[in-house]
Point group: C2
Chain length 216, copies 2
């Protein structure tokens, strides 16, 4: 990411988000306490890692019954969430944009997809999964009117570079870029380039390595 | 990931995949040489990082004209790619599964999506973007007949846990899991849990941090 970070490492933030989803599911199922090694097992990591992450955020109410699920959820909420809901826009409502929108709709309280952008006349002016879809020409105006601070870029890769200036000009603070084109922004704008090809190539590489190690 | 790794760190593998995509684009545009700081700039990192990554894989043909694009592509190919094409299956052909399939079709030579699985009668038995879609009941048989070694899980989160046993039984070697349910596999199977919510919550967290730092 492009900005200076405080003391909680990126990987810990990712795991806190993952722990919270598991904890919310536990809470929903009526589970009131969970041991660190159980939480660790669900996420395929060690209990030491879980305890280290929670120590980093100052959570230390491990009892004989394990962590209090509800208390830990609230604690993570305080770390991860803003006081107010953050509004998100999706740029590019193809399959990926629609998958993401559908996935989020109604799921998160503190992060909310409130607008979509495209240039396809069959999409612009309509609502898709309850999200109004605007033309990219109206980007700045809509972002300002809807107080949008984060964009998800799920456009075709070949148009991604052209989105950088509008995103800067509209005052967007965070970008999650799913295209294959790495996007660079000035300091102060958080960027996560998140190309599916990269992750798939990584999995394939380690599959290959495992096979070679087995054969040797 | 769940397996013991060799000496090239995961993050370097990710970046090699990203460098290669940029280099392929350069090559296509007729660019024969590229300096480390140019490659670094495109990816929003330092030239030191680029040089360190390439040193790690034993590439050191930096000349006065920069890296030879074609030679570097071949070098990264040798590191990342298997000798033979790896076949991939997508489990769950909703919007996300279709987005991924469309994205990959014809793009990668060494990784190829060759089968899809679903339970929806409107999809099973048809081809979607040239990929045949099978019923999940036939998973083991189709995986074996098509020599599939990697699966992408893009099913609804609530059915993800039920896919673990079929995946193990079919002898799958690598799993890229897009659902919100963390999946655990025995050692020897590479797993990447890659939940979009996590990344979005991470971006939101650092946006919040930036705002708080600016206000203080």
């Amino acid at each position: 990411m492009a900005t200076v970070r405080n003391t909680i490492p990126e990987k810990t933030i990712e795991r806190l988000s993952e722990y919270r989803r598991t904890l919310l599911l536990c809470h929903k199922q009526g589970i009131t306490h969970i041991f660190s090694h159980i939480l660790a097992g669900i996420h395929g990591i060690t209990a030491v890692q879980v305890r280290r992450d929670l120590m980093l955020i100052g959570f230390s109410s491990d009892t004989k019954k394990g962590y209090d699920v509800k208390v830990l959820i609230d604690f993570i909420n305080n770390i991860l969430d803003s006081e107010n809901t953050m509004n998100i826009a999706v740029i590019g409502m193809g399959h990926l944009g629609q998958a993401i929108t559908k996935y989020f709709n109604g799921k998160r309280l503190k992060l909310r997809i409130t607008a979509a952008f495209d240039v396809d006349p069959e999409k612009v002016g309509h609502t898709i999964d309850d999200i109004p879809c605007y033309h990219m020409d109206d980007f700045e105006e809509v972002v300002s009117a809807n107080d949008i601070s984060i964009v998800i870029v799920s456009s075709p890769t070949k148009v991604a570079a052209r989105l950088v200036l509008p995103i800067i000009n509209a005052g967007i603070k965070g970008v999650l870029n799913f295209t294959s084109a790495p996007l660079n922004f000035p300091q102060g704008i958080v960027v996560e380039n998140y190309d599916i090809t990269t992750i798939l190539e990584k999995v394939a590489y380690f599959v290959k390595e495992n096979e070679e190690n087995t054969n040797n």
